[in-house]
Amino acid sequence: MFEADPVMLSRILTGLTLAFHVIFATLGVGVPIMIALAEWMGIRRNDPHYTMLARRWARGFVITVAVGVVTGTAIGLQLSLLWPNFMQVAGQVIALPMFMEVFAFFFEAIFLGIYLYTWDRFKSKVRHFLLIIPVILGATASAFFITTVNAFMNTPQGFELVDGVMRNIQPLEAMFNPATPTKTAHVIITCYLTSAFILAMIAAWKLFRGNDHAYHKKGLHLSMVAAFIFSIGTVLIGDLSGKFLAEYQPEKLAAAEWHFETETEAPLVLGGVLNDEGEVEYALEIPYALSILAYGTPGAEVEGLNETPEDLWPPLWVHYAFDLMVFIGMYLTFISGAYLAIYKFKRHLLYNRPLLFGIIAGGPLAFVAIQSGWFYAEVGRQPWILNGLMKTAEGATQADHVGLMLILFILLYLFLGISTVLVLRGMFKKKPAEQELYERGIETRGDSA
């Protein structure tokens, strides 16, 4: 039975590869900006602690980039292998941003190579700092381009469909479709946010374990300030994404909100379960909130799932994915805000254990939000691969052995995931920050703030 349905297996394999890739892709887009901030602070304040942060973050970054590159290569090839029919049709319209993405990678790869191997080669420190700028631009641009492809799958435009063939194609219009602004902005800022939280998590962990070296405190402070700014941005842009959905993909929003009947003054449903009659039970309802999320006013009318034929409904479990993402978004804003408030008003309490613990939890939670956000966005588009035009089942490969490939890839990702963790741990355990500061003659042993 399992072997019989290449469509389902293709979907699982695509979802698996993307879900694994996006872990590394997120760090690939976000960490360079944090490295740049640290290196810049090091130059501005002439503080070697920050420079050391930049160095050590960059060293870990190389490992995650490597896995990002190989899993990205995998998904790039897999799109043709698993979705040949989809690529044949959509390729006519959407090749441009994919092509440009490769250039962005190329640009990033070149400068990353240079950046990593020239730490002590230039006389001027600013010169080395400047080399990270193209890395940031390349990474962010590649996220932008690939996300426009995904945006196109949600709101396809820029062509006319005549007898199943695409005509009168306008590549730029396809790329800048209605989903592009909110989608790219939300994806990029959440990459930044997640990376900031992961780095904060590491520093907080050290402090939590009783290591109170100034190096970790500075690392925590820098990443918390950045995380707070990014989290505000995330929530604001997430709100705009909701307004986009209300206008262009109302069925996706309705599925996420279990909003079955079109109505004004729509409430927001949080959590809950669906009973056998398809009614919502045990949920928390916030009056007017859905109308506000969708249109910004409490009285607005929000389209319900009743407008969509039932066989075109997305799976209703996306509700939980959406709630989880939004909840984590609020949490991350709250915890980074709390850090800043305590820093400003009650600094002697700054490194209290509950707060540190809350920050540590933020790292993995941010990744949970990334995953649940993507699962919501992709599964919420079902049954369409190209919204309204091509069903997912029509896009998939007819080939045999997809199930076998799925097993091989599961093994590969297990292998890669475990090795990555082991290598990163080994790398930083072998040489803790204190020891490296000492070896580079930046401070003597036992020196701390």
Binding site: V69, T73, V89, Q92, F103, F106, I110, R121, L404, V423
Partner: protein, 337 residues
């Protein structure tokens, strides 16, 4: 030049770029492992690493460029090759993934580990071998195409003399190209011991390279006479390639002008590669798909070409900078930086 020909030429050029840079990388991985096992001087491996470390990611992008580019310019290839190559393609991906990540783990991460180094060396030969499937099936005769399905005939593939001779050529070429480059690089690095070793490898692998080429000509003439006869009609290109080969080997044998010798190797493969490609046209997949019926619409073609020119303007100066810092900076090459 029509858009179709322009498109395929650009892609072929990038695949050629990948052929050269990846062969260096793949072969270096193999030599790295081999030297380590046979306890050759450890410094030689340092030399290999110093070259590879900053560039491996760049190498990978050449490949990505090709496969994203080909479905961009020729979306129908996604249908035919994508459907046919699920299994061999996935195996290539897995090998590439193991290679790339373990390279990074070994170089930046934990201490030099024997298993990592083995994986790195072995995949260096397996990947080129697995990639050859694409070129092989493009000659036709290995696919069963029905209305809604494209299937690879594994029996035909594994029992074909042609397909095995392509595999052999790919592996010996990797070792030959890589050894030729490392001979040059070791000489620049002022490391006589490494230089002698790689010179030996380079000369050793030169004869099998030519033998494999002859074998290909022979098996192709059996497998696809039409393609073979159009290769013969531009036979001078392949003759030129042979001359470049002889000159390159002669220079390395005498130990002179090693930079020029490597340029000659590039010309040897360049002429053969473009000769092979040109004589293969108009087919992308014999006899089902030509560059004319598989081509993307005109608006997208223009957009892609414009993006390509824009991209090159960005990349060429950056690549130049990288080469100046790593390849042509004597102090870096000699390990003083």
């Amino acid at each position: 030049m029509t858009y179709e020909v322009l498109g395929i030429t650009v892609l072929w050029l990038f695949l050629y770029g990948y052929l050269i840079v990846a062969s260096i990388d793949f072969g270096a991985g193999f030599f790295h492992y081999y030297n380590k096992e046979s306890k050759k001087d450890y410094r030689i491996n340092k030399l290999i690493q110093r070259y590879l470390s900053p560039v491996w990611e760049i190498t990978n992008v050449f490949l990505v460029f090709f496969f994203i580019g080909i479905v961009g310019f020729f979306p129908d290839t996604a249908y035919y090759y994508g459907s046919a190559l699920l299994v061999p393609g996935s195996i290539s991906i897995i090998l590439l993934a193991i290679r790339g990540s373990y390279y990074a783990f070994n170089t930046y991460g934990a201490k030099d580990n024997r298993l990592y180094s083995f994986l790195y060396g072995a995949t260096g030969l397996l990947i080129p071998a697995s990639f050859t499937v694409v070129l092989t099936i493009s000659e036709g005769g290995f696919l069963e195409v029905t209305d809604d399905r494209v299937q690879l005939q594994y029996g035909a593939l594994f029992s074909s003399g042609y397909s095995w001779s392509v595999v052999i050529l790919a592996i010996v070429s990797v070792l030959y190209i890589s050894a030729m480059f490392l001979t040059y690089y070791a000489n620049r690095a002022g490391d006589p011991q490494a230089y002698q070793l790689f010179r030996k490898y380079a000369l050793f692998w030169s004869a099998p390279t030519i033998a494999a080429c002859v074998l290909i000509f022979f098996t192709l003439s059996q497998h696809n006479p039409e393609h073979f006869s159009s290769m013969i009609s531009i036979g001078w290109v392949f003759f030129l390639s042979l001359l470049f080969f002889c000159a390159a080997v002669a220079l390395v044998y005498q130990g002179k002008y090693l930079g020029l010798a490597f340029v000659l190797v590039m010309l040897q493969y360049g002429t053969a590669w473009f000769g092979y490609g040109a004589s293969h046209l108009p087919y992308l997949l014999y006899p089902y798909l030509t560059i004319y019926d598989g081509f993307v619409n005109e608006a997208m073609a223009i957009a892609l070409i414009a993006a390509f020119i824009g991209g090159l303007l960005l990349l060429i100066p950056s690549l130049y900078l990288a080469m100046r810092l790593f390849l042509f900076d004597d102090e870096y090459v000699q390990g003083k930086k």
